[in-house]
């Protein structure tokens, strides 16, 4: 962000300080603003902090006073989760499924976006429209036939049974975001590459892919987040506990151990913290991706 007030050149310098202060009314922060910000932060983070701190308390402490701090700090809940093989199994499944989904989405997405962005051919508009209309098909509409199809293909309880449909449903947004991105790469580069004897595939591989790195990262992060957080499809496809992902694990742990509030909080916290850190680090990518989708 640039300075809040840009001072036009012809104005006498002596006028600057009062101008700037008046500008402060528009762009500075008074105590009221900080108070509001504090309320927003407390409301936003309250439940998350409650979960993390609650994991350090015992069920007795939680029952006696739902709001208090851990006293004494109990690490048993977290250690129980971290030493359970099932938790690591879930984390591994989630990671593998999210990585495979992301890889398929990004590779097929950028490949499809390339001709749609830079070739001129009959039917280009139709193909682009098919993918754009795909944005309108929610997973819920297709979920029953998908569930039956995956079952008939014997892909239930496998990572492919979740990753392939997830990648297919992530393709429209990926292509919609990547297409303008690839269009923006200057044509001169393509002409220069062609003059130097590169084929279209050579141009795609050596020039387009390296240049579209930021766009690929954005769609990759979006696909990863969506897969990591997915619930409906894995719920139907992954019935075997050994093949399940973290959201399924969190849901079933919380209903199976309903009396063990502290344990549930520890399990939930451990399931969310690593992803939370990663997603917040990638926050700018997610926002720009969402905006890209919004612009179409």
């Amino acid at each position: 962000m640039s300075a809040p007030v840009v001072i036009p050149a012809p104005r006498p310098v002596t006028l600057d300080p009062p101008r700037r202060r008046r500008g402060g009314r528009f762009s500075g922060g008074g105590p009221l603003i900080y108070a509001i910000a504090l309320v927003v932060v407390a409301t936003t983070l309250g439940p998350v902090i409650y979960a993390i701190l609650g994991g350090f308390r015992s069920n007795g402490q939680l029952a006696a006073d739902p709001v208090g701090l851990p006293d004494p700090w109990v690490t048993e809940n977290y250690i129980n989760v971290l030493t359970s093989a099932h938790f690591w199994r879930l984390a591994l499944n989630s990671t593998v499924i999210a990585l495979v989904t992301t890889a398929i989405t990004v590779v097929l997405g950028v490949m499809a976006a390339y001709p749609l962005a830079r070739y001129r051919f009959k039917g280009r508009g139709t193909v682009a429209l098919v993918f754009t209309l795909g944005l309108l098909f929610p997973l819920a509409v297709a979920i029953i036939p998908l569930f039956l199809m995956i079952r008939d293909l014997n892909l239930n309880n496998t990572l492919w049974g979740v990753a392939l449909p997830q990648a297919a449903f992530a393709l429209p947004i990926t292509i919609v975001i990547l297409r303008p991105f690839l269009m923006a790469i200057p044509l001169e580069l393509e002409e220069a590459a062609m003059l130097d004897g590169a084929s279209r595939i050579g141009f795609f591989w050596r020039i387009l892919l390296p240049l579209s790195g930021p766009g690929l990262v954005t769609v990759g992060v979006l696909a990863f987040v969506a897969s990591w957080n997915a619930y409906l499809l894995p719920l139907l496809i992954l019935s075997d506990p050994a093949s399940q992902t973290l959201p399924l694990g969190v849901a079933s742990f919380s209903s199976e151990h309903a009396q063990d509030t502290a344990g549930v909080l520890a399990f939930t916290s451990l399931a969310m913290i690593p992803a939370l850190i990663f997603f917040l680090a990638a926050q700018k990518r997610i926002v720009s991706g969402l905006q890209g989708a919004v612009k179409g």
């Binding site: 009314r25 603003i33 936003t44 499809a112 001709p115 098909f137 269009m183 997915a230 992803a275 926002v287």
Partner: protein, 337 residues
């Protein structure tokens, strides 16, 4: 948003350049046999690039959607031959089932309440935070936290916060409002609004972040000019910022509407549609009837109805609200330069 200009002009450039591309091909044809082979090769290349994505998309999106339409006219439990053709009976049954029609109303309630609650709240917070202040970038990251959490994790935490004698009740009591505590998720009259509250917590951050991003596209010199003309803060927001934010707001509302119509995860975790179906949504009804009771034909009819309702609302929205932006858009974008 700022690179909208570059993208757009690049798009124009690409179209123009593509024109010259054909010209080049045409030249080749006149010169010799180069043209047919180029075109053949080009077609192969296009197939190579677009083919895999199209196959995957057709197999796991298009085919299932078509299948849903087909299943919806049969009475079928998912096993054995699908031979009990019932025509539109499933649709008639669904529309006569009060649990389903109530579920549709719940979805509509959530669509409307989401906009009515989140728009003013999100706008107010975005406008207040859109200034140079200490810790602004940290604040933006914090606001984003609920949105990147999975709905399952958020739902499980809120389930515990809302349980009788949980933290929410404790906060009400500490504020002297102990009499107002409810069976938040257990009372059929309250549960839907409790779910609405949790959804607001989960998704308000998205509204704020999108509005803040949109605000960065509002040109600084407009504020300055208004300031020089003696406009108050409120006048500037009302006359300049909010109108220029219009496209962002309308697109956000569209996303919010589509999300509300498909709502599943949060409801499934918090209430499974209960108590007494008071929080049932179209999607939870669909899963409840389909995979839980093996009424696949009937559930497919519900899926088609869900899609139809979403599509009609999406088209209406497009026609009445978003289309305006196609005329509006160039103006603010140009102003940015």
């Amino acid at each position: 948003m700022a690179d909208g200009v570059t993208t757009r002009s690049a798009g124009v450039a690409a179209v123009a350049a593509n024109g010259s591309d054909t010209g080049r091909d045409g030249g080749g044809a006149r010169r010799g046999r180069a043209w047919p082979s180029t075109s053949w090769r080009k077609r192969l290349e296009i197939m190579f690039f677009v083919g895999p994505a199209l196959v995957l998309f057709a197999l796991f999106v298009v085919v299932p959607v078509i299948q849903a339409v087909r299943y919806s006219v049969f009475n079928w439990n998912g096993l054995g031959p699908m031979d009990d053709f019932v025509g539109l009976q499933n649709y008639a049954d669904a529309l006569r089932d009060q649990i389903f029609t109530d579920a549709v109303m719940h979805n509509f309630t959530i669509v409307i309440l989401s906009v009515v609650i989140q728009l003013p709240l999100g706008l107010a917070i975005a406008l207040l935070l859109n200034r140079e202040m200490w810790g602004r970038s940290t604040l933006r990251v914090i606001i984003f936290v609920p949105y990147v959490l999975s709905e399952v994790v958020a739902g499980v935490i809120w389930l515990l916060l809302l349980q009788p004698g949980g933290m929410v009740d404790a906060i009400f009591e500490s504020l002297g409002l102990g009499g107002l505590t409810q069976l938040w998720l257990g009372d059929p009259d309250i549960a839907l609004y409790t779910v609405m509250g949790v959804l607001t917590w989960k998704f308000l951050g998205l509204a704020i972040i999108l509005f803040l991003a949109g605000l960065q596209g509002v040109p600084r010199d407009l504020y300055e000019a208004a300031q020089l003309d003696g406009a108050t803060w409120w006048q500037v927001q009302r006359r300049i910022t909010i109108p220029l934010l219009g496209p962002t707001i309308r697109v956000w509302a569209f996303l919010s509407m589509i999300g509300s119509l498909q709502l599943f995860d949060m409801v499934w975790i918090l209430t499974k549609g209960g108590p007494a179906n008071s929080t049932m949504t179209m999607a939870t009804y669909l899963i409840n009837q389909g995979t839980d009771r093996s009424r696949y034909g009937y559930a497919s009819a519900v899926a088609v109805l869900l899609f139809g309702i979403s599509l009609i609302l999406a088209v209406l929205y497009q026609v009445f609200l978003l289309r305006r932006d196609n005329d509006d858009v160039p103006k603010p974008r140009k102003a940015k330069r």
